[in-house]
Structure formats: C-alpha cells, structure tokens
Amino acid sequence: MSRFLVCPPDHYQIAYEINPWMDVKRGADPTVARVQWNALAAVLEKNCGATLERIVPVAGLPDMVFTTNAGIVAGHTVVLSQFRYPERQPEETPFEQWFESHGYEVKRLPPGLFFEGGGDMLGTRNMWFGGYPQRTDIRAYRYVGEFLGREILPLELVDPRFYHLDTCFCPLSGGEVIWFPGAFDRYGQAAVMERFPAEKRIAVPEEEAVRFACNAVCIGKHVVIPEGSPSTMERLEKLGYATHAVGLSEFIKSGGAAKCLTLALD
C-alpha cells in the first residue's frame, strides 16, 4: 500500500515569485484550489488505493502544500530538505517535527547545502536520479546517496521552467519514464537514454510538458496526471496504465501539480 504525505491548501496562495510560473498579480483562487486539491486527494485514496497522511498547514507558509519538497524518504529514514529560497526555508521546521513525531530517523545535510527532496530526487527501486543545479546543489547527492545507500545519477536541468526534476521527469513502476528531453542538457539526455531503452521512454511534447504532464504520481498501474496531456495519457494507456486526469490549474500557477503535492512515504 502506498502512503503519501500531503498538506491541505488552507494557507495556499501566491505570495512571492521564486520560479517563472509564479505571478503574484495573477494569484491563485483559494476556493478553486481547495476543490482541486480535494479532487486529487479523492483520486489518490479512492481510485488508486493510496493512504494520505495530512500535515497541519502553517499560516504564512503557502508552499507547504508542495510536500514532495520536504525531503526524501526511504524506509524509516528521511533526509530533510534545505530550501534554496529563504521564502521556503521556514517550512523545514514543521516538516522536521512531523517526521520526528512519526518515528522517522531524520538525517540532515551539512548547513548551506541546498536540497529540495522529492522535487529533485526521483527513482525506482534501484535507480535514482537527482536534478541540479537550479534548486539542489549537486554536492548534496553525495550525502543523500550515503545516507540512503543509493546510487543517484545527477541530471542538469537547463530550462528555468523545469526547475525541479519532478517537473520534467517521472519514472514509472513498470520501468518506463515520462520525460521532457528539452529540460536536460545533452549529457543528461544521454544518461537517461542509457538507462531507459527507447520503448520505455515516453517523451512528452512541449505543450503537455508546460501543463505538467511529467508532474504525475504513479501508484502501481495507476498514473495520476494533471489534465491537458492527452497524448501522454494515450501512451500510458497503451503501456497498460490506468490514467486519472486531475485539474490542478491553481497549483500549476505556482509551478507545481500532482507530484509536487504528494511526498511518497514508503
């Protein structure tokens, strides 16, 4: 059974601009955001059989909804994030408290080494990838790899719109990957192609990439994906996945969607 840490959008809003998606003037509609978040939670729990752990939202920390950035979890160990932007750094404390109170062994990186958790680190059972340098300092992966005993292949993210690895790269349970190659440099593209044979790579067209097609959540044979990515869904269905499109427009305004709103706990 899959468990995820989520944070209800009680205090969600666009209060600052730390990526090209955010626009304080445009803002996000809190009512629509609440409806969309509830719909996502329902799909995850009812359609995909996931268990959601809800952290209590903290006023003044609007991006706490994007729980995937809290850290990276492996078994009962969590490596806590150290956010690059001061706007998000206060999130570290409530997340740390949550993990400690839920019995996790909490690992911290050396001070000053930026790492944004599941936002930049994705993988399958034995193959992990780490996005850098926009939010995570590549040197963090050395520590994370040692803490968790994992091989982490760093991938450079070269497009500011795809600032976290989970905005352009999504490994699936069957060994496939959804990705937007244009977000990577040629070394990163070559490294991904070396690890995923052509038939396992689902390259997303740009118009779907900017609708966050890669910011999907894969639970067994279910893929929860932001709406507006028909060709990606078609490819997934041909591979035998059940797709669940969810409208997440209010969160995409902040540069996040389904994956950003969930942190895998197991």
């Binding site: 040197r139 790899g145 292949l153 760093p154 450079e156 440099d185 070394y187 990163g188 070559a190 690890r195």
Partner: protein, 406 residues
C-alpha cells in the same frame, strides 16, 4: 599558465558528469590532465577523479573552477606550506622538501608564491625579511632558518612545450649517435643569433678535449663574436688553452701535426707556473703574455669565467676554486639571465651545470660518450638536446654556421 586541482566524486561515469566537466574545462579555454581516476566496480559504487586544470591566467582559471563547481567538482583541499627551523648550520630539518628543477610555488598565508632561484636538490627557505621564498643549498642553511617541510602547500608546474618550435621544441629527450647532427646545429646557431640580439646570456661549460681535438679556435671565435657570456671549466681547459698559446701544444702534443714535443709533458706545468707567477689569467692577457685562445678571448670580452677544481689538478691556476661548495656557489651566482647552456665534452662540469639550471633553460649537451647527454636529457627537460659527437667538430660546425672562416 596557472593550475588548480579539482576532485569529482560520485556516479560521474554513468551520469556523464566526468565528460561534461572535462568538456566545460575545454570550452572555457582551459586544458586538463587526469591525475587519477578510480571507477566504481559496481553500479552502486561511486567513482573518483582527480583532475589538474590548467588555464592561461588566474582569472580564466577562476571562471573554469566556478563553472565546474556547479557540477560537483571541488577544489582539492589546500593548506599552507609548513616550515621548520634548521636545527644547525648546514643542516636541514628532517622531512625537508627537496626541490626539483621545475617552476615551484609554495602557499604562504593562503597565497601561492613562486620560489626564486629554482634549482634541483635544494631546500626552500623563507627569509623573515623577504616575502618570496627561495631555494637554499644544504651547506648555506643557517641554524634557525625557516625551511619548507613535508609536501603540503607546495606545487610544481610541469614543463610546457615551448611556444616557438625550433629544434629545442621538437627534440624531447632522445639521444643517439645515429642521428644526423647538421639540422640540430643549424637550429642551435639560430637560437644563439636570436639570443645575442636580445642580449640574453649563453653559457658554455667545457672540458679540455675541446683543446686536444681542435675546438680552441672556433670556441675563441664564438667568444670574440659575442656568442658566449659565461664559461664554466676546470683547471685543465684553461691550462691547455694557454699552453697552446705559449708552446703550440696541448698536453705536450703539437696541435699542428700531432707529434710529441720534446719534454712536452712539462708544458702545461710550465704554463701554470707562468700564470701563477704573473698572478692571474686576466693579468697575463693584459700584459700580452697570452694573446690567443679561449682565455684571452674571455678576458677581452669580459666573459665571466668560473673555474672549478678537481682532486687531480696540477697547480692549480690562479682563480681555480678548489672548494667545491664555493665553486657551486660561484657558478650559481652567474646563472641569472642565462637562456641557453652548451655543455661540451666534460662529464663533471656538464652534470654540475645541469643540476644548477632550472628546467626552463634550453640545454645542449655534446659528448662522444652517449652516457653524458643521456644523463642530462634524463633531467626531464623538454628543451634538452643531446649530441653524441666530438667536441671540436661540434664547435667548428657551430662557428661556421655563425660566420667563422677557418
């Protein structure tokens, strides 16, 4: 050129980080050497690489380092050079750093400072009154002097291939008697012409075979023509050169015809005695006692002569330094400004001079015994030419290239 060592650790092979970092170094106009690489045996095991990055200027190097740091490369941890006081006069502290003949820098208070007076097999001394460290021979160290110890905070720059590609650039360290000499001697002559124009100094260290074999005239001509500025030799070369003037013989054999002169074996002793009576070679030349040959040419042209004695010397001539530590110091003192060294037909003087010279000074070693040029070439200089040939033939051909007419 300047350099810095960086290290990369992690899954640098599969992620193509290593080629990316190397490409970045080149794209930013630098170059690199992989000093060490260890590739993980399994997919889980990380790999390590240690890379020396070279760049034209410190600014360019800083740009490159900044660019590759973003990809996880870190600058190898640097420490200041460690110093220890010499425990007694003429004694280095244990674990003293032994210099090479290559450009050397030491890190003092976080800054890399070049070591002055580079010479191999010495220590490095930091004088309290001089911010720049310099080399110091064992015999000259004084109790309490600060001497570099260990290896931290000391770096050596490997020789670069010289910018102008003449015979010195192409030769490398090959020595063979079965190589044509002509083009090499032409190349050496061209370099000497260029150095004479630029007022750089040319050193010749030579042995008495120059006189016996008939190299006296072309060498005297080279000196008179301003191609030689420093002469290192022993008692014998000077004695036989002046013997040739006074008696027409070298070690008692007539230079013309080669017959043994009557009581010729006494000639060099009588020559030495004559000069000792006059007081100095310079005075003998000034008085017109010696008017031809190498020593006369040196005195007339103001060439700096350092004569170093050996155990079997007769006399010796006035001016021969019989204390070898003092002789080394005198040789060392003449080296600044020397940009070419010709080491001709003298094993001891050639090796001694080779030891004193920084690797950056182009060196030509001429000897009939291949062991001598080979020994010199093994110093690791890219700019060493070894010629296995007779000294006199070399000097004649060289002088002819420069305009000498027999």
């Amino acid at each position: 050129m300047t350099h810095e060592t960086i290290v990369l650790h992690g899954h640098i092979i599969d992620s193509l980080l290593l080629p990316k970092v190397l490409d970045h170094i080149l794209q930013y106009g630098g170059s690199f050497e992989i000093a060490h690489i260890r590739i993980g045996k399994t997919r889980e095991e990380p790999s390590d690489a240690r890379i020396i990055v070279h760049a034209e200027s410190p600014e360019r190097l800083a740009e490159i380092i900044a660019a590759v740091q973003a990809h996880g490369a870190s600058v190898e941890k640097e420490a200041d050079c460690q110093w220890q006081e010499a425990p007694a006069d003429g004694v280095f502290p244990d674990d003293f750093y032994v210099t090479t003949h290559l450009l050397t820098e030491v890190r003092v208070h976080g800054k890399w400072v070049p070591v002055k007076e580079i010479e191999m097999d010495l220590g490095i001394w930091l004088d309290r009154n001089d911010p720049a460290p310099h080399t110091v021979p064992m015999a000259e160290v004084r109790k309490g002097d600060q001497i570099a110890v260990g290896r931290e905070g000391i770096r050596v720059t490997p020789l670069e291939r010289p910018a102008h590609l003449d015979v010195f650039g192409f030769m490398g360290a090959q020595v063979s008697s079965e190589r044509p000499h002509g083009h090499l001697i032409t190349g050496i002559a061209r370099r000497m012409q260029a150095l004479r124009r630029s007022e750089a100094r040319i050193l010749l260290a030579g042995g008495p075979a120059i006189i016996h074999g008939g190299g006296r005239e072309p060498l005297a001509w080279l000196i008179e023509s301003g191609y030689i500025h420093v002469l290192f030799c022993g008692n014998a070369l000077a004695a036989h050169d002046m013997e040739a003037h006074l008696y027409g013989t070298s070690l008692g054999l007539h230079l013309e015809g080669g017959s043994l002169a009557h009581h010729g074996h006494e000639h060099h002793l009588r020559t030495i005695n004559r000069i000792r009576a006059i007081g100095s070679i310079e005075e003998a030349v000034r008085q017109g006692v010696i008017t031809t040959g190498i020593m006369a040419a040196c005195v007339r042209r103001g060439v700096k002569i350092v004569m170093a004695g050996t155990i079997r010397d007769d006399g010796p001539l006035p001016g021969v330094i019989t204390d070898s530590v003092q002789a080394q110091a005198a040789m060392r003192a003449t080296l600044p400004g020397v940009e070419l060294a010709l080491l001709v037909a003298s094993t001891l003087h050639a090796v001694a001079t080779g030891n004193l010279l920084p690797a950056s000074v182009p060196t030509v070693c001429v000897d009939v015994n291949p062991a001598v040029p080979t020994k010199l070439a093994d110093r690791g200089s890219l700019q060493a030419i070894g010629l296995v040939m007779d000294a006199a033939s070399f000097l004649r051909e060289l002088a002819r290239h420069l305009g000498w007419k027999e």
